[in-house]
Symmetry: C2
Subunit: 430 residues, 2 copies
Amino acid sequence: MQIARIIEISKFKDQEVTIQGWLYNKRSSGKLRFLQIRDGSGTIQAVVFKGDVSDPVFQVCDELTQESSVVVSGIVAADKRSSLGFELQVRDIQIQQIAKEYPISPKEHGTAFLMDHRHLWLRSSKQHTILKVRHALIRASRDFFDGQGFTLVDAPIFTPAACEGTTTLFETDYFGEKAYLTQSGQLYMEAAAMAVGKAYCFGPTFRAEKSKTRRHLTEFWMIEPEVAYMDLDGDMDLAENFVAFIVQRVLESCQEELKVLERDITILEKIKTPFPRISYDEAVKIIHDKGLEFEYGNDFGAPDETAISENFDTPILVHRYPAAIKAFYMKKDPADQTKALCVDMLAPEGVGEIIGGGQREDDLDVLLAGIKKHNLPVEAFNWYLDLRKYGSVPHSGFGLGIERTVGWITGITHVRETIPFPRMMQRLTP
Amino acid sequence: MQIARIIEISKFKDQEVTIQGWLYNKRSSGKLRFLQIRDGSGTIQAVVFKGDVSDPVFQVCDELTQESSVVVSGIVAADKRSSLGFELQVRDIQIQQIAKEYPISPKEHGTAFLMDHRHLWLRSSKQHTILKVRHALIRASRDFFDGQGFTLVDAPIFTPAACEGTTTLFETDYFGEKAYLTQSGQLYMEAAAMAVGKAYCFGPTFRAEKSKTRRHLTEFWMIEPEVAYMDLDGDMDLAENFVAFIVQRVLESCQEELKVLERDITILEKIKTPFPRISYDEAVKIIHDKGLEFEYGNDFGAPDETAISENFDTPILVHRYPAAIKAFYMKKDPADQTKALCVDMLAPEGVGEIIGGGQREDDLDVLLAGIKKHNLPVEAFNWYLDLRKYGSVPHSGFGLGIERTVGWITGITHVRETIPFPRMMQRLTP
């Protein structure tokens, strides 16, 4: 018999098919048993009428526990009451396994309990719906850069030197040497951009930050484009086009998922380019106008970002932060040497920074002076300095954090639910 | 003026455009200068005729060194002699930077020298062509699984327990605990398959092996599908369809690249399903029939794999290895309990194993006995054992190593050239 996945059930109208799945829920009414069967692609109501099946099959319905694995055969019948549009009129049920008492019941559980059972919690409708949006978003991200002529150039995870201090780096013994887990593929993408013109990497990055906020993971995924001959304005164009594209794609391809997550999509539908571009100075003025305390020259904290972004319906691009609080590789603004040609994208609804990037310093002597000023070991950067000796060009790029972006688009406020197996300061299992 | 990328140059026939790139090579002949300009998307010959440009522009041609960054404007003219089909009749040249003497010249360099200059070596035609094939192959891999209804479920990199001994694991301090870098996402994909039916992960994996062969990297990328309700035969179907698909896609989308790499594509064109399926026992017979020494019951070494696979034009599927040499989670063959329901795919031309996988043990008691027999810490596997308590189903999957597969398809024999920044036992830089 034809094995059908629930997501494709409409292809099998009035045919007999077999569904391989698990019992999600059930109820009974006289000679009827209603089984909610999930197979990972969707959920269907399987209706068992006593007259349609053998006695043992009817009896088995009462033995089925939540998450028991079952193979159910029946006729696909149109049903206007169901959101799927179809139900299954059962003819046979084969039990794979009667599940032991399932730890996750419809009752409320604490977060720690659910996180301890993340391997099972993923089966819950909301959790695997978030994963499907994550998948769609990652796919859209790759499609965007692939469609614009970028070459994927995977950055290494093991890096040899602690470029910006070791306090937030994870360290490992590498055959007697010390190696560190990457915090960003940027420096490697700069080398790649000089080879392929437009490069991007996409992979996990690591920060050993002792932060327990809803925005922090120790292991998170970033997509990082880098383009030769692109300046800060081009970088901001690329960033806003990219984010508008992935939002649009998720709106198109994840309508059902966003419904399950009860996301207000009217908010997402407003995400159109151009996004507002404001300078650091203008952003500080917004904060001060709201009567908040903020010392000019500092970086923005989460409450500051919220205060700035709540003035806008779309993400905003905040550019030209004070150079003093930015990394050594940022190019300074020729019009004001105290400012860096950098940009952060802040998402609305209190989500905060989802993109950080900017134009890189392309002058050998200025870059070398910056490395020395930051007390960084020059020899570790010799290869990076080579990029300024052999055909240096203006170039820019950015990194987008996948988890914060998934959180924003799905309306999930804590990043721990936006990645299948989150790793946080106090969470290394399962 | 219109900025053009060389890959799209045919769109600009007879128009004046600007190319932003680097000097790859040059030669001169009387009143003509021929500049090979690369921009990362391709290479074009820019022809400078003394009468067409100002004197300083003509003179600058003689100052240009290899890898100098230049912005060249001119008319796109059809040219049948060039493989691109077009050349640029130069009107103006602006120099970004005259490069210092470039370390990589057309003369032969040793591998260690080239690997030390990997950040520059990537600019060489062959090297970035390999990267483009790698990109195409990764894209095809994702398209295959996305097209078959799989959900991407990223596996974690940090894992809490040393599941199969610590000798080949990289370890890090995780806020006072020990964490290990993942060797495979499989166990997590098993949990994911129970949630979404068909799951895959794609990311870097790590092995601290003290191997210096052409097949080994300490950091390599794997794509790992896992499917609920799929047995070993289904797993072999999936593996062969997947590999045939990505070979076909690379043949279609990388014709130019395979030409640059001088790959004999007639070999790749023979890669059609079904692939031969032979048992371990049959494979051993092939080895013995060739008069090679091999002790029945052992795992195959590289020379054994070559001996087996050279009998075939396509990859082959070798199944049912002795259970004793396979991991604890492999399901045993009901027809012969000494064998595991596992499969390796061996690629032809001496490439060897590119896929390893099989059907997983789904019985709680058998799995638990296996964990104990292998002297593994049961408590570390409690979450994994949960998958056999709550709706256990037959399930299977595999992992394909990206670098070996890129090596096979491009005809590059050493994996170090199939990843942008290779990490090997004695290579952690640049």
